[in-house]
């Protein structure tokens, strides 16, 4: 006796061929039995036949010896029948799979398709007619361009600044795709203040016009500096506009989709006097789309003189010592949890409602690798960082990974528990800092770290890397996109990365028009191991790398140099 399942009939109705209903049927438990199938048209038995025809394809497929095909001749009076419903079954049994067919007057079996575009698709496949639509949007016609910014010498300079992300929207979208514009604006505005008067606008059109008219009336230079992705820009002011773009992909959007012409960035940029990008990589992307005539400057956010940590090497901490820091939020510590597969993780600690944010202490020790990022941003690829770290230091209790998270905990809490439970138990330590870290304590975190980590698939700049490097901390990161501007073998252990394809993040169609990078996990893991080895066993090399990081930053992103570059780009002179 075979199992119960094998006593079931198997088969398939292939379709109608030359007036015969074709298919196959057999019972695997009795492979030598010949089954009889019958055909019902619109509920009436119209014919029957034995399933005994030899079909080589069935033999190849292991349907017994292949003698299980059938072809039941049925008289289909097409003129009279029109659309008929055909059912094929083993005599007095259940219908065979694929047997509920609709036959139209031409003898073709079809499912009921009423939607015209689906029917058109089927027709174009069957009749092999080309019906391809073009997805490429035409080059936008030449449109009125923004007035160029021609700075006159010897008069006052004015900068109207506006960021699409401000304190208010930041609270809503902390860690969202455009939150970095806030930080970029915060870094650049003081620098612009060295070149002229900064006016903060709360509206990109009317208020900008008002200020512009006033400046123009005084005969002064005036430039609108607009921090936003072009598809969100509201252009319309009369003031010459310079956009500041954070971008990390190989090309800028040059297609239309939806009903939003601004999705083609070229349409927007044509109305501006030029663009400032935060990396050479982004500048090349803009230049390729806009042509060499369009003014583009690649300049980093000036971090060197801007934060408590920056500008001089923070004292190094011996791995055996520990550092304390306080934050308003909570601390996740792998030493204090148990992680077992199949066990539901506990809920994240909830902040006390309405009360003042609770300050908690974190104690950090060992060789510390730190990464600061928004887990909501999929480009950060933090899961690779975590698994590579756990794998690299499975037997190393004094290796510590610190994640300082930006944004809500729901983006990392569950997944971190899940990954820790599913990875083999490791002796190293994972600490996640969730919440606000006051500047002084952020500086302590930087000081307590030996390495700063990044495993992104693309970066527009990566402010945290700059902050840590400005305090003399070397890097473990891939050397692509913006990071190519400041990472090198002296200040970093470069993680190997490879080309990858992707869609522009705002493209809802998800068309693969752009490229990013994929991180080689093995290289990420090995680079962390090498970093650990250098820290513990090669102090002179580690020291040299710290100094190299500091040296790179001192020329890369100090106020003076960035201001000079912006001034020369705008044709201005830096005030003494």
């Amino acid at each position: 006796m075979a199992g119960e399942e094998d006593s079931e009939v198997q088969g398939y109705v292939d379709g109608v061929r030359e007036g015969r209903i074709c298919g196959w049927a057999w019972r695997p438990s009795t492979p030598h039995e010949t089954l009889t199938v019958e055909v019902l048209i619109d509920g009436v038995v119209a014919g029957e036949a034995a399933a005994w025809l030899h079909r080589p394809d069935l033999a190849v497929a292991g349907v017994g010896d292949g003698r299980h095909g059938f072809a039941v001749p049925v008289l289909l009076d097409m003129d009279r029948l029109g659309l008929s419903r055909i059912v094929v079954r083993v005599k007095d049994g259940d219908p065979l799979p694929g047997s509920k067919l609709l036959v139209d007057a031409h003898g073709d079996v079809m499912d009921e398709v009423t939607e015209p575009d689906i029917a058109a698709f089927i027709e174009s496949v069957l009749n092999q007619t080309a019906a391809k639509r073009s997805a490429v949007s035409a080059e936008p016609a030449a449109e009125a361009q923004s007035p160029p910014f021609c700075a006159r010498q010897g008069v006052a300079n004015n900068f109207i600044v506006y960021s699409s992300t401000n304190e208010k929207s930041l609270a809503r979208d902390f860690g969202g795709p455009e939150y970095s514009y806030y930080f970029v604006a915060r870094a650049f505005n003081p620098l612009l203040a060295r070149l002229g008067t900064v006016h903060v606008a709360s509206d990109p059109v009317d208020e900008v016009n008002r200020i512009y008219e006033q400046c123009a009336a005084r005969g002064e230079n005036c430039l609108f500096v607009y921090y936003a992705p072009p598809h969100r820009m509201r252009l319309g002011s009369r003031c010459p506009t310079m956009c500041v773009i954070a971008w990390e992909y190989s090309n800028i959007p040059t297609e239309n989709w939806g009903d939003e012409p601004r999705n083609d960035w070229r349409r927007v940029l044509r109305h501006t006097a030029g663009a400032i990008t935060l990396s050479e990589y982004a500048a090349v992307a803009v230049r390729q789309a806009m042509g060499d005539q369009y003014p583009v400057l690649a300049v980093p956010a000036p971090v060197w003189d801007r934060s408590q940590t920056a500008g001089s090497k923070l004292a190094l901490r011996a791995p055996a010592s520990s550092a304390e820091l306080a934050l308003d939020g909570f601390v996740f510590d792998s030493r204090q949890g148990s992680f077992r597969m199949g066990e539901a993780p506990p809920a994240p600690p909830r902040p006390t409602p309405k009360g003042p944010a609770k300050s908690v202490l974190a104690s950090i020790d060992g060789v510390v690798f730190t990464s600061v990022f928004a887990p909501k941003d999929g480009r950060k690829n933090w899961q690779d960082m975590l698994t590579a770290f756990l794998s690299a230091f499975i037997d190393t209790p004094d290796a510590t990974l610190v994640f300082k998270m930006i944004g809500p905990e729901s983006y990392w809490w569950w997944e971190t528990h899940d990954l820790l439970a599913r990875m083999p138990p490791a002796r190293c330590r994972v600490v996640v800092l969730q919440g606000f870290l006051p500047d002084a304590h952020y500086a302590r975190l930087v000081g307590a770290s030996h390495w700063v980590l990044n495993s992104s698939v693309a970066e527009g700049l990566c402010l945290p890397l700059l902050e840590f490097m400005c305090a003399g901390r070397p890097v473990v990161a891939p050397g692509h996109t913006a990071m190519a501007d400041y990472l090198n073998a002296e200040n970093s252990i470069i993680v190997r990365s490879d080309d990858d394809y992707c869609a522009w993040p705002q493209d809802r169609r998800c068309h693969f028009n752009s490229r990013r990078y994929r991180i080689e996990w093995e290289s990420l893991r090995d680079s962390m191991r090498e970093a650990y080895r250098i820290t513990k066993s090669d102090p002179s090399r580690y020291e040299a790398m710290c100094n190299a990081a500091l040296r790179t930053m001192s020329t890369f992103c100090n106020d003076e140099r960035v201001a000079e570059r912006i001034a020369s780009f705008l044709g201005l002179r830096v005030a003494a």
Partner: protein
Amino acid sequence: MIVLEHSTFDARAIGGRLGAPDYSYWFVRKAFRPVFERIGIIVPITDPAREVDRIAKNAASYGESSVYFSFSPPHHTMVASVCPTVPVFAWEFDTLPDEPWQNEPRNDWTTVLSQVPAAITHSRFAVQVVRRYLGENYPIWSIPAPMYQSNVRRAVSAKGWQSPTTLTISGFAIDAGAVDLSLFNVDRSRTDGSKAVKALNARVQSRGNKPLRFSLSGVVYTAVFNPVDQRKNWTDLLAAFIWAFRDNPEASLLIKVTHYDAVVGVVPILSDLSKHCDFKCRVLIVHGMIAQEEYDSLVDVTSYAVNVSTGEGQCLPLMEFMSAGRPAVTPLHTAMLDYVSSDNSFVVGSTRKPTSWPHDPRQSISCTQYAINFSQLVQAYRDSFDVAKNQSERYTAMSAAASAAQQRFCSDEVVSSRLREVFEHLGLRPRTNRATFMRRVLSRVAT
């Protein structure tokens, strides 16, 4: 000598099961069958727990020895008590499941493997992994499915550059570059694409003597895979092809989908293709069981076989096409280490990344698989195109080397001689077929 053999999908209609878990074991079993036939009498088993020991006991009472070949992963292998059990399984990961879960001790493969007198897998890679857990002398043989003899006959048609050839497909096929795929875009309702494929499938099944015809020419890359199987990494296969040949109408990718359900098997590919927008290269998708002569014509029109898997137990399609003299575009890891070289293939770099054993419902991250180097894959497509178009001597040499490598790897002789080693190890002597005797043995079992 009685050879009892079983796989999860045995006498079932594989056409209705293509792409289901463990379906490929059926193909391995079928491939081994001619070799087994020369060694003993094959008795297919449908229910190992009920049948194996009973038949073996009966045979023994007539002085006939039996061996049970279980074409299943060890956790699905029943260990017989009357006759030796030999699990035949594919493995492509660097660790072996060595802990039980869900109260099934057999999920710890070392438990099963230490209970059997011998085991068969299909690559040296898998042999090394098993021996790391069960000892350097553990009796396991790497025996691939004997794919060479049945496919080498097509090697005569191997050429890099295809003059225009009409391909006739009586089943489901789509020239994806020539149709509007917007039905499959992510911004459309998911059911539109499924509905279209379902209706299209019904239509082509009914077309009778109106098969679809496609003209192919230039350089044709063929990939045979089940898109549900994540290990096949087919999105890279497709994306790199389009990156390499976006503006090149002389390059074609022929995808033979091995999944029984057209919607499950084809919609994801069309959906992915719809995101790639404009490309001048051709992508042809063929789905379902097609007649042998049509399958042969796919092989004939093929310049290269493509595989970008993250791991392979042996890779039957690659063995099949390389036996037929088609050089490959493939990474060099796991089973491919046994037969791929730069003489017969365009080798794509790969690096390891963590993953789970495929049958582990807990998804513990306990092993590694191989990630493809995407830019090298793009380059390999371009290099191989150039060889096919402009370096026919090099193509011919690679074609011969591909066939020769498979002959060394999986010819009947290699397979039978290794199987003989297994039988010798088990102390079994292959005997001639004694049909009358067998009928008596089996008739007793049946009653």
